[in-house]
């Protein structure tokens, strides 16, 4: 049964069958909100789907064999690991298995940015390397508050996210969720922390040299990151433990998309910060918030 449940989570919900359409919709929602707030009409809802389809249909550039292999392999690993992280989200109350395992979840979530860093350097482009450097520095900056907040939430449940939302006390939950939400824009390359991809400023950051199918995989990996991070906030913000599963599913989807709307509005109304400013901001304010959550969790407040 546990294998069946794991397969269901990976392939149906919240995995492949839900995650890919939701990922496209979330990317569209962000672009649409951005356009509406700028007084434009914005792209139609099928836009991200056609973007990715078109990129898959382009002829790949001829590269040396090993380089081509690396440049297709890295985005593929990013897509698969992000999909795995989505399957681990504790939407349903866990009964054994890896569901909600904090260590596995965090490592799968972090493989995506790690692949992006390696991909930037592997492409041997100046702009790719620049984007990769920024991505690496930022991941040092945001992971401190991000991991501290997750540990604070899971302090009572012992390195598991299942039930972490319910067992932690209200002040811990509010502070830890606040710290998590603060980390989302930088993980999703959104303003004000879009320093890593820095659209037009350093060309396309670490994906500058990627074309056709490998770029499509990057777009997909990035879209899936939306689902996993918004979904993480949704599962942890859901306040009830023992309710019927349809309620869990509906709340998961609704809160996920609400998070996307909030992030999109913040992104549309702010400007990009510099690298040093972003790093300082996270180590000061992000870490401050999450550290206070951790402190409260340990004194059992």
């Amino acid at each position: 049964m546990s294998i069946l449940r794991a397969l269901f989570a990976l392939l149906v919900f919240p995995g492949l069958l839900y995650a890919v359409p939701a990922a496209f919709l979330m990317v569209w929602l962000q672009r649409k909100i951005n356009a509406r707030l700028q007084g434009r009409i914005g792209p139609p809802f099928y836009q991200p789907f056609f973007d990715v389809t078109k990129l898959f249909a382009k002829e790949p550039i001829q590269r040396p064999r090993l380089e081509g292999l690396i440049m297709t392999g890295l985005p593929l690993v990013a897509v698969l690991s992000t999909l795995g992280a989505i399957a681990l989200l504790p939407v349903f109350p866990a009964r054994g298995g890896f569901s909600g395992d904090l260590v596995l979840f965090v490592s799968l979530v972090e493989i995506g940015p790690l692949c992006a860093v390696m991909a930037g350097f592997a492409s041997r482009s100046l702009w790719g390397g620049l984007g990769a450097t920024r991505e690496a520095v930022l991941s040092l900056a945001y992971n401190l508050p991000f991991l501290t907040a997750l540990v604070a939430l899971a302090a009572t449940t012992g390195f598991s996210l299942s039930g972490a939302a319910v067992s932690a006390s209200l002040p811990v939950r509010v502070l830890a969720l606040l710290a998590l939400v603060l980390c989302l824009p930088v993980k999703l390359h959104l303003n004000p922390f879009s320093t890593a991809s820095a659209e037009q400023e350093i060309y396309a950051g670490s994906t500058t040299e990627y074309d056709g199918p490998s770029l499509a995989l990057w777009e997909l990996a990035h879209a899936l990151e939306w689902v996993v991070l918004a979904g993480l906030v949704a599962t942890l913000a859901f306040p009830f433990a023992q309710t019927a599963w349809p309620l869990h599913v509906i709340a998961f989807v609704v809160i996920s998309f609400a998070v996307v709307v909030v992030l999109a509005i913040v992104a549309a109304s702010t400007a990009r910060l510099k690298l040093a400013q972003t790093a300082r901001w996270f180590w000061l304010w992000g870490f401050g918030v999450s550290l206070s959550a951790l402190g409260l969790a340990f004194v059992r407040l």
Partner: protein
Amino acid sequence: MSLFDPLIKTARRRSAWLFHANAGSCNGCDIELIACLTPRYDVEQLGIRLEASPRHADVMVVSGPVTRTACEALQTVYAQIPNPKVVVALGSCPASCNVFAGSPTIVGPLDRILPVDVFVPGCPPRPDAIIAGIAEAIAILAGDKPRPEPASPPLVAQSCVAGGQQ
């Protein structure tokens, strides 16, 4: 003909990413191209996006009469765009070198350097005209329209030497 061909065709029609190359333009055409992205014209509704990297692009938009220094860069950038791709010549300069014709520093017009698919005339062209030109380029990209016949004898020069246009 494969099963996915209609889907791919639709995707190409609805998602054209542009790369803009300035080959010695006076910035008039460039400003008009940027105007297409603003709320008044908003080409993002048509799925058109200005991309920073030629590797991501489908449509190469070139403005300017092609100066000697820009010529090789243009050929490099053209080779960096993955197939299928189309080239749009923006304004009068890449079409005829405009007032710069005959200058020793000008290698243009553009169709000596690259196979141009669509010419958008005007100095500078209005954003409406640019959007119409890009729409025609998209039709060529999706295979709805044939590519224009290459001139015979072929005009495309291998070397970037000035003085082709009199």
